[in-house]
Amino acid sequence: MARTKFRFVDLRLIAVGLVFVLAWAGIGYRLFRVQGADAAELAQLGFDQRVRHETIQAKRGTIYDREGIELAVTVYGKALVADPSLVEAPEEAAAILAPIVDVDYVELIQRLEGDGRFTYVARRLESGTVERAREAIESADLIGFSFVEEPLRIYPSGALAAPVIGITRLDDGTGIEGIEAVMETELAGHPGKRVVERDQSGRAIPQADFLLEPSVAGSDVVLTLDREIQYISETSLQAGIDRSGALGGSVIVLNIANGEILAMVSLPGFDGSDRSTLDPSTLRNRAITDVYEPGSTLKVVTVAAALEEGVVRPDTPFETPNEIEIGDETYSDHGSNPPVMTVSDIVAQSSNVGTIKIQRQLGNEAHYRYLDAFGLGRPASIDFAGESTGRLDHVSEWNNVAAGPSAAIGYGVGATPLQMASVFATLANDGEWVEPHVIAEIVGSDGGRTITEPRRHRVVSAETARTMRTMLRRVVEDGTGFRAAIDEFPVGGKTGTTDKFDVATGKYSDTDTIAWFIGIAPIDDPEIVVVVVLDSPSGMIAGGYDMSFGGTSAAPIFAEIAESTLHQLGVSPTHNGDA
């Protein structure tokens, strides 16, 4: 048998065959890695690149005034976002986008070169900017950029009622002050969830999204505030502050029949839409957080309690020297008193001595019982976050012999403007206390309505309340509150002036005062109670009257607000009641 001769051609065939074998072996190995050994890891990598779990934001509820006008509304703005892992040329992208969306070029490069899968390029973009950025991204074929919607909280009326409405956090839209915070659970709604597949450019692939849980929009909140009355109150208070140089002030306008707060002002205020000039100290709502000694305005509780208990009558006479000593304390009246004053005179002339004498006949126990029944020492409403309880020590702690007399004239007791509004509203409402409230109703996303039903309880009889109103009318007609008079409506009220207590020194100020006027209008058939409080008013008005008193600085503000409010409410100036 002859040996096969080795040929060069065979060698080449073997070489080619070997190359093929190696190539196929390589492909086979790669196939094994991709489809076998690393299959799970690579599949997960692809899944993560393509599929995203996204949160569907719930639209935050709107806050309306009593007429259905938007006070706080959420609209959706656009944010330009990027996935840094997909951005191929961060410097080029930053050079194109930075000038369009007005962000710092270097900072944008740093963000685009980051390790994460998400970064904001720019937020709260206007529609024109969005279009320019979109065109730039498409023309330069930039990959990894997309636009997302983000909620913007808008306050169309600007600073109007801002301390009442409050504000939300910029980053996540959570309410942090005012009604925005109190009603956070109702306003926020519930976010939903979905799974979305996105293409290489970050665009959602149609039909490739899967809804896991739909979002539920937040409830709308309707407030009792009336925008016009709120504006009237704010401008009048601001004018009063400007006149008197006061540090700040509060106003509350309360509907006496149902406890609805028609206006609540706290100045200085802020504009929730403009955070650039926001001063944190202006965030607080002074009408519910600031506690003042109510001074003479609290005398109405002393006198009403004495009348209700049958201790005195309006014409009961009291000897009224200019001073009275109780324990170590000496109480005096401004000016000189007539030797004898009736209870009605004592209220009209705001006599400290006379009121203290009435209180001593009434007794501490009964006095405390009425202070408590009028709502002092506890929050007046459930609608406000951070409402102060004020200060009312239990009668068992009135160890000092001067505690009762001091409380009779409004010292040693702390009250918020809202609490004092509630006291006068009780007298205006024939002796029935009605819980003051600012939330009229909550309208759910399903249309369901939850209407506020205020709590009520009787404090004094209707007869006592009417008698008190007659006395309060005298305060304005021929007493300390004559600057509160309105031509078209009969009004009544009480002035109050207390020395400002300096917490730092623990002493009363010699110069600064808290000036009050609390009035009822019309006094013969009451509709509203208006509380005006000024912090540290000063200066003089024409005639040489000191502005630091409630009768000179706060009473004129009451007159302006009450007159305009009654016009706004459609109360006839020729109204004649039978009180």
Partner: protein
């Protein structure tokens, strides 16, 4: 009795007849093949149509979202324009002032004042009642 073999000419005729009978079997195969191909293209076409519709739906969703955005923007603008501060400012710019002398005209039945929560939707409710 044992059957004898057919003569060769007869056997050839029988085979040809069987071949003639088998020939029509091809037609269903062709039809099936065409049906498969048509189905294949139909599936592709339906998929493309579905995708087109999905893109159309997506476009409509975007348009709805854009219209809703405009709606809310207009509501915000409307509320802004109704702001008393803005009205006062513009009125002052026009030279409007509060009158010194005011006259009150009282219209019978219009003096009811502050209403409760139920009253503020009375207009809307009346409108609903009027609807058939």
């Amino acid at each position: 009795m044992t059957a004898g073999a057919l003569p060769r000419s007869t056997a050839r005729r029988v085979g040809a007849r069987e071949q003639t009978r088998r020939r029509p079997v091809v037609r269903p195969l062709v039809i099936f093949t065409i049906a498969v191909i048509l189905t294949f293209f139909a599936v592709i076409y339906s998929r493309i149509s579905l995708d087109r519709t999905a893109f159309e739906l997506q476009r409509l969703d975007r348009e709805i979202a854009a219209e809703q955005e405009i709606h809310w923007d207009l509501r915000v603008d409307y509320a802004r324009l109704q702001a008393p501060a803005l009205i006062t400012q513009r009125a002052a710019a026009l030279g409007l002032v509060y009158p010194e002398d005011r006259y009150t005209i009282e219209i019978s039945g219009m003096a009811d004042t502050v209403g409760g929560p139920e009253d503020r939707w009375m207009d809307l409710r009346a409108l609903f009642v009027e609807q058939p």
